[in-house]
């Protein structure tokens, strides 16, 4: 970490923009500017702006690069705004892929399309106010449940847990969430059942657990039968057969962020024996 930080500081000190491709997987600091691939040749170390000779007179095609979390567009470069590792995903078809910064955070900022766990804090008229851990509570209309009509209201009380997704989430407006998908079906969303335990972890851990083929989830599944809901706002709801098992699972998830895979396997084997 110290060496990576030293390299980052050198680039900041020298004031030169680095190519985004060259920095993939490395630590980037706020304030750094990254060059997109199409601009690398024009802004080489000499700074003379020489372009390589091209035989065809056709202009170079502009590749559309998506700027993900932690990056902002700054002219034709990318400005890093958060500290973390730079990642890139190749595009499925066309485009230039996505660049983003993998940073660690505890506070959630609502993003459209994210599935989150919220707590109902108030009922005002036709909407519920749901606390999702952001800067303001999200609003949830009572019609946004499967099979809900004006006569057939959903049975939601203050203090209930709701699993839903955001349909409106930007910096200028109050976030709005719904518990149905675009076809009108619940698809697992709605009020989360009785019992169970809700606890909070960091956002990075949620992303790691929701990645495909996560080892932790497979090992936990072999340990006890359980029901689990992950919210992208850092909240996990877990329910096992007994309270003791639920608490053990909650402790495992909270601790697994800081454990190496070997330590985790030791703990799982000890729990499986007892």
């Amino acid at each position: 970490m110290a060496e990576a930080a030293a390299v980052g500081a050198e680039s900041l000190a020298s004031g030169q923009a680095r190519a985004a491709r060259a920095v993939l997987g490395q630590l980037v600091l706020p304030g750094e500017e990254l060059l997109l691939p199409e601009h690398e040749d024009a802004e080489g170390p000499g700074g003379a702006g020489e372009r390589p000779l091209r035989l065809s007179p056709a202009p170079r095609s502009r590749v559309r690069v998506v700027c993900g979390p932690g990056l902002r567009r700054c002219g034709e470069r990318l400005l890093v705004t958060k500290c973390g590792r730079l990642r890139h995903k190749e595009p499925g078809g066309g485009g230039g892929g996505v660049y983003w910064v993998d940073s660690q955070q505890k506070r959630y900022v609502p993003v459209k399309g994210d599935h989150v766990i919220g707590i109902v804090t108030a009922k005002s008229g036709d909407t519920f106010k749901v606390d999702v851990g952001g800067s303001e509570p999200a609003s949830l209309s009572y019609l946004a449940f499967e099979g809900a009509t004006k006569r057939n209201r959903p049975n939601v009380q203050v203090g209930d847990l709701i699993y839903g997704q955001f349909v409106v989430a930007n910096k200028d407006m109050e976030p709005e969430m719904v518990c149905i998908d675009s076809c009108g079906r619940a698809n697992g969303m709605g009020v989360i059942g009785q019992d169970g335990l809700l606890f909070k972890v960091t956002l990075g851990l949620i992303r790691k657990l929701l990645a495909p083929d996560c080892e932790i989830i497979q090992e936990v599944g072999k340990l006890y039968p359980l029901e689990i809901v992950f919210g992208m706002n850092g909240r996990i709801w877990v329910k096992a057969r007994t309270i003791q098992q639920t608490l053990i699972l909650a402790n495992i998830f909270e601790a697994c962020e800081h454990m190496t895979p070997e330590q985790r396997r030791q703990i799982f084997s000890r729990l499986a024996e007892s």
Partner: protein
């Protein structure tokens, strides 16, 4: 993420008394040590230690909300006693520095609160507070356009400049100057001075000393 970075600024700084010039006391930083705030950091410069916690972007009272950017609040708690006027003026300086660097326009109508607690004061307190605030903002994931650092210089009666002075050096100095620099172009974000000094002091050695300090070891 627990990162415990210990950067030795200068080998001379550890062996006995410092020689005058651009050498710093041993400094260290630890992040993510508090569980409640969204970001926290502890910054140590010699014996001066400051603990910082950042909450945000969080809910804001309607009376304090700004429609197009985040409301930044800084609270500085002294080691003993209630916060007084000196703390209020330092809070204002730290807030102005943070506002210049944090991208508040990405989180309008929210509040970002930085709480600083002085754990021990052995000189260069304002610079240590600035450094701790920057590290805590980075730990919280608040979007920033640059990093910033703070440095204190003491000018003694002979005109010699000492960087990162101790309490004794600050008391005996003719003037004490604190600067905040940003990381991208090393521009001056904030400066505050106390004491007697004239514009006749050649500015270039001062700037050279600040740049050499920066190159010696200040990084994330």
């Amino acid at each position: 993420m627990q990162t415990d970075t210990q950067i030795r600024a200068d080998a001379r700084a550890e062996a006995g008394p410092r020689s005058p010039g651009c050498s710093l006391r041993h400094f260290a930083c630890e992040q993510n040590l508090l569980s409640r705030p969204d970001g926290s950091a502890s910054f140590l410069q010699g014996d001066t230690s400051v603990l910082a916690g950042v909450y945000g972007p969080a809910e804001v009272k309607v009376s304090k909300e700004i429609f197009n950017k985040a409301t930044l609040e800084v609270l500085l708690r002294p080691k003993i006693g209630l916060p007084g006027v000196a703390e209020k003026s330092r809070e204002r300086l730290i807030r102005n520095t943070c506002e210049a660097v944090v991208l508040g326009a990405l989180h309008p109508r929210t509040s970002i609160t930085v709480v600083l607690q002085v754990v021990s004061d052995a000189g260069s307190l304002l610079a240590c507070c600035l450094n701790a605030a920057c590290m805590a903002l980075v730990d919280a994931g608040v979007p920033m356009r640059a990093l910033f650092c703070g440095v204190t210089c003491a000018l003694d009666s002979d005109g010699n400049l000492v960087l990162d002075p101790t309490m004794k050096q600050e008391k005996e100095a003719r003037a004490v100057l604190t600067f905040a620099l940003d990381s991208v172009e090393q521009k001056l974000l904030m400066s505050t001075t106390r004491g007697l000094y004239s514009n006749a002091e050649p500015p270039s050695p001062l700037i050279c000393k600040l740049y050499s300090w920066k190159q010696e070891g200040k990084c994330c």
